[in-house]
C-alpha cells in the first residue's frame, strides 16, 4: 500500500450514472487487476474505495509485470454515483488533487486462467475485469500461446451499457445481457452464460458484481457447470487496509477481511 497525491487528468461521464476518472500519480503499488484504491474526499470522514479499471505505469516500463512504475503513471477508475461523495466526484475538474491510498486488496490471480478464461461482470462490478482481460491477453501474447477471453457483461437496460466496445477492442469475445432485453440476451449474466454453455471448455472464471449476481454465478457456473473461479466482493469498509475488522467475512479457511485478504475470494473457500 502507498499513500500519494494524484491529479485528475480526465473525469468523463459514460452513462447517466457512471463516470470514468483518470488519476496521474505514483502507480507503483498497483500490482494486480482486482485491487482497489481508497480516495479521500473533502468533507467526508471515510475514504471511498473504488476498484482499479486500468493502470499505466510510468515510462520506461520494463515489461516485468505490474508494479514497476514510478511517479508518473496513471490509474483509471470507473465509479457509479451512489451518494453524496460520488456525486461530488463528478464535479471535480481536471487538475484537482486527491489524496489516494493505492495497491489495496489481493486482486485476481491470473496464473490459473488457462486458455479459455471467462469474465463475468455486472453493472458497477465490470471495471476491474477490464484490466484482468488486458493482462490475460498480454500474458498469452508474451508467452506465444493461444488464449480466448470471453466476457459476459450484465446491465439493467441499454442506457447503462458501457465498456462493451472497449472489451472488444482488446480482442475479447463479448456477450451482453440486459434485464429488460433491450440489448443482447434478455435476463441476467447467468442467462447469457447458459446461451454460451453449448460451447464448453471454459478453463476458469473471474467475476465482480452485486452480491445477488455473485451468488447466482456461484450456483450456475461453479456448482452447476463445475468451473472454478475467483469472485470479487464488496463490503462497507472502515480503513481499507486490514486494520479495523470492519469488513470481515467467514470462509472455509477462516475469517477474512474483504479489504486485505480479499476482495477476491476463490469459489472453493466461499461460505454464503
Amino acid at each position: 500500500m502507498k499513500q500519494g497525491i494524484f491529479s485528475i487528468k480526465e473525469n468523463t461521464q459514460l452513462t447517466p450514472t457512471t463516470w470514468r476518472m483518470v488519476l496521474a500519480g505514483d502507480t507503483s503499488a498497483v500490482t494486480a487487476p482486482g485491487q482497489f484504491i481508497n480516495i479521500r474526499l473533502d468533507g467526508h470522514f471515510l475514504r471511498r474505495p473504488v476498484s482499479v479499471n486500468d493502470v499505466k505505469h510510468a515510462e520506461p516500463y520494463t515489461g516485468e509485470g505490474l508494479g514497476t512504475g514510478t511517479d508518473e503513471g496513471a490509474v483509471t477508475i470507473i465509479y457509479k454515483v451512489l451518494g453524496q461523495g460520488t456525486e461530488e466526484m463528478t464535479k471535480m475538474p481536471a487538475g484537482t488533487k486527491l489524496d489516494v491510498l493505492t495497491g489495496l486488496g489481493n486482486g485476481y490471480d491470473l496464473s490459473d486462467a488457462g486458455d479459455r478464461p471467462l469474465l463475468i461482470g455486472g453493472g458497477v462490478g465490470i471495471p476491474p475485469l477490464y484490466l484482468a482481460a488486458k493482462e490475460l491477453l498480454k500474458d498469452a501474447k508474451s508467452r506465444g500461446t493461444d488464449r480466448e477471453v470471453t466476457v459476459i457483461l450484465g446491465f439493467n437496460s441499454s442506457d447503462e451499457i458501457y465498456y462493451a466496445d472497449e472489451f472488444e477492442e482488446l480482442g475479447c469475445r463479448v456477450a451482453v445481457a440486459t434485464a429488460d432485453g433491450s440489448v443482447g440476451v434478455k435476463g441476467f449474466v447467468t442467462d447469457a452464460f447458459r446461451a454460451l454453455a453449448s460451447e464448453e471448455g471454459f478453463t476458469h472464471f473471474y467475476t465482480c458484481g452485486p452480491e445477488p449476481m455473485l451468488k447466482a454465478v456461484y450456483e450456475e457456473v461453479f456448482k452447476g457447470a463445475g468451473i472454478s473461479g475467483q469472485m470479487s466482493f464488496e463490503e462497507r469498509m472502515g480503513c481499507g487496509f486490514g486494520a479495523c475488522m470492519g469488513c470481515s467475512c467467514r470462509t472455509v479457511t477462516g475469517y477474512k477481511r474483504i479489504c486485505k485478504d480479499g476482495p477476491v475470494l476463490r469459489t472453493e473457500e466461499i461460505l454464503w
Partner: protein
C-alpha cells in the same frame, strides 16, 4: 530541544501517543507502513477468552466528522493471541505493549488478564468494560459503579502490572464509575470508548449496521471526550489516558492540558494510516509554538 517523555503507571514512554485498541490490529499492518517503534506504545486489538467472529456486516457507517463501528470484538482468542500474534508483534515492536482485555463475565476478565499479564511483552493491561457492540457483557460492566468495581477487584488479584480501566461515555455520571475503579485498585483510567449511535439507509428504511447500533468515533466526539477527561482527571488521583477524536498534535496537547497523562489515537489511524506517526513528528513543533518545553509539565494544566 523539547521533552516529549511521559510516565504512565511507572513505565516511561518516549511520547504520549498510543494508537487505540481496535484501530491498530496487532501492529503489523502498520509496521509494513512505518517503524512503529516511534510510538509511545499501542493498545492491541481487544482480546477475549474465546475466539470471536464479532457481529455480522455491515459493521461500518459514515457520520459527520466520524464513523460508527459495530465490529463486536472480533479476535482470535487469548490463547492464539499469545501463541501467534505476540511472537509476530515481537519482530516489529520492541517496547512494552498495552494489552486490551474484554469479557462477558468477571471470570472471563480474570482468565484473559491473568494469561496476558504473564507475557513479558505486556506492559499495561487496559481492561475494556465499555464495548458498546456486544450483548451480555462489555459495556454493562462499565455502566454501573458496583459492577465496574467487581471486575477491577477480581483482575487486580491476578497481576501487579498496571491495570488501566477503559470507560464508556454512555453513562450518566462517568466520574462515579472512575472513582469506583480507583477505589477497587485500578492504576489508571482510559476514556472514552465510543458513543452509541445509529444511522439508517433511507432507501431500505432500515439501520445501516447489521447490529442496528454502533459506536461513534472520530473528530466529532473530541469535545465530549475532552470534557470527560477533564472531569475524571479532576476527581481521581491515578493517571488518565485520554482518547476520543484525537487527530492532531494540537489535540494531544489539549487532552493533556485537560488532564491526560497519555493520549490514544483511534479512528484517525483508519482514515490516515500514517496519522500516529505524523502526530508524533508534529509534536515538538507544536510544543514550541505554545512554549512547552516538557509535556509532563502540561498534564492537567487547565485545572
Amino acid at each position: 530541544m523539547v521533552d516529549t517523555k511521559v510516565t504512565l503507571c511507572g513505565i516511561e514512554l518516549d511520547n504520549p501517543v498510543i494508537p487505540a485498541s481496535g484501530t491498530f490490529g496487532y501492529g503489523y499492518e502498520f509496521a509494513e507502513l512505518y517503524d512503529i517503534n516511534c510510538l509511545g506504545t499501542f493498545s492491541f486489538k481487544g482480546t477475549t477468552k474465546d475466539p470471536r467472529f464479532g457481529n455480522e456486516t455491515p459493521r461500518i457507517a459514515e457520520c459527520p466528522s466520524g464513523m460508527l463501528n459495530s465490529v463486536g470484538l472480533q479476535n482470535p482468542g487469548v490463547d492464539k493471541v499469545i501463541s501467534e500474534e505476540l511472537p509476530k508483534l515481537a519482530k516489529v515492536f520492541n517496547k512494552p505493549v498495552m494489552a486490551n482485555v474484554s469479557g462477558f463475565s468477571v471470570d472471563d476478565y480474570v482468565y484473559t488478564t491473568e494469561k496476558l499479564a504473564a507475557e513479558e511483552q505486556v506492559g499495561w493491561l487496559e481492561i475494556n468494560i465499555s464495548c458498546p457492540n456486544v450483548h451480555g457483557g462489555g459495556m454493562s460492566f462499565g455502566t454501573d459503579p458496583c459492577m465496574a468495581a467487581d471486575v477491577v477487584r477480581a483482575v487486580r488479584k491476578t497481576t501487579d502490572k498496571p491495570l488501566i480501566i477503559k470507560l464508556s461515555p454512555n453513562v450518566t455520571d462517568i466520574v462515579s464509575i472512575a472513582k469506583a475503579c480507583e477505589d477497587a485498585g485500578a492504576d489508571g483510567i482510559s476514556l472514552i470508548n465510543t458513543l452509541m449511535g445509529m444511522r439508517l439507509d433511507l432507501k431500505k428504511r432500515k439501520p445501516i449496521l447489521a447490529n442496528v447500533t454502533g459506536g461513534y468515533s472520530g473528530p466529532a466526539v473530541f469535545p465530549v471526550a475532552l470534557r470527560m477527561v477533564y472531569q475524571v482527571s479532576g476527581a481521581v488521583s491515578i493517571p488518565v489516558v485520554g482518547m476520543g477524536g484525537v487527530s492532531s498534535a494540537e489535540n494531544v496537547i489539549e487532552m493533556m492540558m485537560a488532564g491526560a497523562t497519555a493520549v490514544e489515537i483511534g479512528a484517525a489511524n483508519l482514515t490516515e494510516p500514517f496519522a500516529s506517526r505524523d502526530i508524533i513528528n508534529d509534536l515538538p513543533l507544536v510544543m514550541e509554538k505554545f512554549g512547552i518545553t516538557s509535556l509532563k509539565e502540561i498534564i492537567g494544566a487547565a485545572h
